[in-house]
């Protein structure tokens, strides 16, 4: 009431009627996510729709650069200034629960049995003691992007379906200048982008291995399968000369610049590729392995309710999260960000599953694995260095593989000690 009086004094008598009429019971909740153009656009639309359906709730969105995200959340919530609903990477859940930053979702609205049934099984990683702590709106998987104009130019009719075909296709797409410098790559490579997922969860499995054991606590790619996968990967540059790591700085830059025939990337790239003028591209499922094995990697960002939300803010947060995990929200997210619905009921509807862009990603979900990272960047760095040692220092792939494995195992041991 005091707040109302103060606002009245400030706003003048004319504002009084509208204050009493519309916002006297209003509750404002805060939503935080990291900054990525398409995600912010999508969330703005979702908030608008949610507010229209719930006029007594307003949602304020704040976004930060990815690099600062975790720090800000950690500093703000204990200080009582952070978000009520927060977006976090699936791999951070343990840390967030341990630090008491998020609270379990109420089982009456988010019935675990119903979620088990309705969502893709990978979200079960968000469950602790029979309650979900967070849920995704969307999930992401990998696929092969290809430049249809360059394909036409080279007279290639269809994207490669197997790894052997991938090499052959890439050879036709590679261009070199008179001095032997590559000016157009058949396929982009770079462990710094999405290739570490491709190598880990796709290639290693396709060559007959299993990248980790004990629920991702033990590195297991030092066997023949891991070595074969690594040799295939570095062979693209060394033996077949169809690529160059670091070509045009970033794989996605080369693809956007019409200088790469093929490019493996996540579904989140769709939104930004759509904005590139003059780029004609299409998507195919990742090529199958030598024995026909298909594999993919999927990951997701989830939304949780923070411990800061109590009372009516908590109720509003529950409503908002319920909306974020609704079929409608998933379709909006798919259309704007290009990330795939977390429920088969949305993902597998015909219009999506056979969609020429989303279809290959959604099909990939059926055979995807989700790596449980202890520290994704550090574990990726081990892969980057593994290839770097071979590329730059000419180290024997087997030695480099063993070194990467021991490096990564150390990261896992430190985390799970």
């Amino acid at each position: 009431m005091f707040k109302l009086l103060r606002r009245t004094a400030l706003g003048g008598m004319t504002a009084l009627a509208s204050l009493i009429g519309s916002s006297a019971m209003a509750v404002e909740i805060e939503y935080w996510q990291y900054f990525f153009d398409a995600r912010v656009d999508a969330m703005e639309q979702l908030i608008e729709k949610f507010e229209a359906a719930n006029p007594d709730i307003t949602v304020k969105m704040t976004h930060f650069p990815y690099a600062d995200y975790r720090t800000k959340v950690a500093a703000a919530i204990p200080a009582g200034e952070g978000p009520d609903v927060v977006q976090l990477f699936y791999g951070w859940l343990n840390d967030y629960i341990e630090a008491d930053l998020i609270q379990p979702l109420p089982t009456d609205v988010f019935d675990p049995a119903r979620i088990d049934e309705e969502f893709f099984p990978m979200v079960q990683a968000m469950k602790r003691d029979d309650a979900y702590y967070a849920l995704p709106t969307a999930v992401r998987s990998l696929a092969l992007f290809y430049n249809t104009r360059l394909f036409d130019e080279a007279g290639i009719e269809a994207p490669p379906a197997t790894l052997d075909e991938l090499v052959e296709t890439a050879k036709k797409l590679t261009k070199v200048d008179g001095a032997g410098n590559i000016t157009q790559v058949g396929i982009t490579t770079g462990m710094t982008a999405q290739d570490h997922h491709w190598w880990r969860e796709v290639l290693v499995r396709q060559f007959g291995g299993e990248p980790y054991k004990d629920d991702y606590k033990t590195v297991n790619y030092t066997d023949d399968a891991g070595l074969a996968a690594l040799n295939f990967y570095v062979g693209l540059e060394k033996d077949h000369k169809v690529t160059k790591s670091g070509f045009m700085d970033e794989p996605q830059a080369a693809f956007k610049g019409n200088r790469a025939g093929m490019h493996i990337d996540g579904s989140f790239r769709i939104g930004s590729l759509n904005k590139v003028r003059g780029l004609k591209w299409a998507v195919a499922e990742l090529p199958a392995g030598p024995d026909g094995t298909k594999s993919n990697y999927s990951s997701y960002w989830v939304n949780g309710i923070t411990t800061k939300a109590t009372g009516e803010k908590y109720d509003a947060a529950v409503k908002f999260l319920d909306y974020l995990t609704s079929d409608e929200a998933m379709q909006v997210w798919l259309d704007i960000v290009g990330e795939l619905p977390a429920k088969p009921s949305v993902g597998m509807i015909d219009a999506n599953a056979t969609h020429e862009t989303y279809g290959p990603f959604i099909k990939g979900l059926a055979y995807a694995n989700t790596t449980k990272f202890a520290n994704e960047s550090a574990q990726r760095q081990a892969m980057v260095d593994m290839v770097g040692r071979i590329d730059i220092e000419g180290q024997d792939p087997a030695e480099s593989l063993a070194a990467a494995a021991s490096e990564e195992q150390k990261i896992l041991d430190d985390y799970y000690k």
């Binding site: 045009m248 960047s377 770097g388 730059i392």
Partner: protein, 300 residues
């Protein structure tokens, strides 16, 4: 204030001095000394930013001692210092020395040299990063290729990457050093040069007997300042190697970047604090050592 009246003038002066000093002192204690002290304390703890802190004693320092990456980074940091400082010192002196004698468009030339210093290090690093790219995008390599010379791996090489990053860092800092050197040169009394001219002394003798000795305070300042700068190099490295920070294979990683990664990638705050303490110690020792080596009366 009854006691105040009984104070002597000198004591009153002290009271007022402290009253005015209190503001900066409080300011420094709160925003400088407190975080510094807190970093020392954190270096004995384990803390992932989210949970509670746990005391671990000297564990972080032991880990640092046994970490091969730390020693690699340690060598890199000193490589930046040992290569960067003398090169930038010599180049900036040569430029300042000649610029000082130039009358034609003096102000304009001075501005040209100073411009890079005012430019954002991030923007500059990204431009240079583009220069260094391989064919078909990189400026340098495109030039080499058009002349029929093989490409050079500037950044994707464990031997070339560090000098390649150092070059723009030196270039960017030149403007500041040139200005300081010129101020130093202008401060030398003209009478010395007139005397030398009357005696018919050659330019080399003038340079080594008059100019350089009288520039000693300026040189000390620049050496200490640029050493601290190179020991704390971060923005150039981070922005020129963002895809693989400090890479390839840690060949360009300086201590500050390692601290950043430990803190904000691995969220290992205790370990990062221990590295910070080490960096602080290095900076302190290097600065004191330089001041001691280069001290002495400028007119001697």
């Amino acid at each position: 204030m009854p006691g105040y009246k009984n104070l002597s003038i000198r004591q009153k002066q002290i009271v007022w001095a402290w009253a005015f000093l209190a503001v900066p002192v409080v300011f420094y204690v709160v925003i400088r000394f407190y975080p510094t002290g807190s970093a020392f304390v954190t270096s004995f703890q384990e803390w992932n930013l989210l949970g509670t802190r746990a005391w671990t004693g000297l564990e972080n320092y032991e880990k640092l001692w046994n970490d091969p990456v730390f020693w690699k980074v340690f060598r890199n940091t000193f490589a930046y210092l040992i290569i960067g400082t003398p090169i930038s010192l010599v180049i900036s002196f040569v430029i300042a020395y000649h610029l000082d004698k130039t009358r034609f468009m003096h102000g304009f030339l001075r501005m040209l040299y100073f411009l890079p210093f005012m430019t954002s290090a991030v923007a500059m690093a990204w431009i240079w990063r583009w220069f260094y790219q391989p064919v078909p995008v990189g400026l340098f390599n495109n030039f080499l290729a058009s002349m029929g010379i093989p490409q050079i791996e500037f950044l994707n090489s464990t031997t070339n990457a560090l000098p390649s990053i150092l070059a723009p860092a030196v270039w960017a800092g030149l403007g500041f050093q040139v200005i300081i050197f010129m101020a130093g040169l202008r401060a030398i009394p003209v009478t010395y040069y007139e005397a030398a001219k009357i005696d018919g002394v050659g330019w080399w003798t003038v340079l080594t007997r008059i100019t350089l000795p009288l520039l000693k305070p300026t040189i000390v300042f620049i050496v200490v300042f640029s050493s601290i700068g190179f020991l704390r190099i971060f923005d150039h490295v981070f922005n020129m190697t963002t895809n693989n920070p400090g890479g390839p294979l840690n060949s360009t990683k300086p201590l500050v970047l390692m601290i950043y990664e430990t803190a904000f990638r691995d969220f290992d705050m205790g370990y990062a604090a221990a590295q910070t303490v080490v960096l602080f110690t290095i900076l302190l020792v290097v600065s004191l050592l330089q001041l001691w080596l280069l001290r002495g009366d400028a007119t001697k």
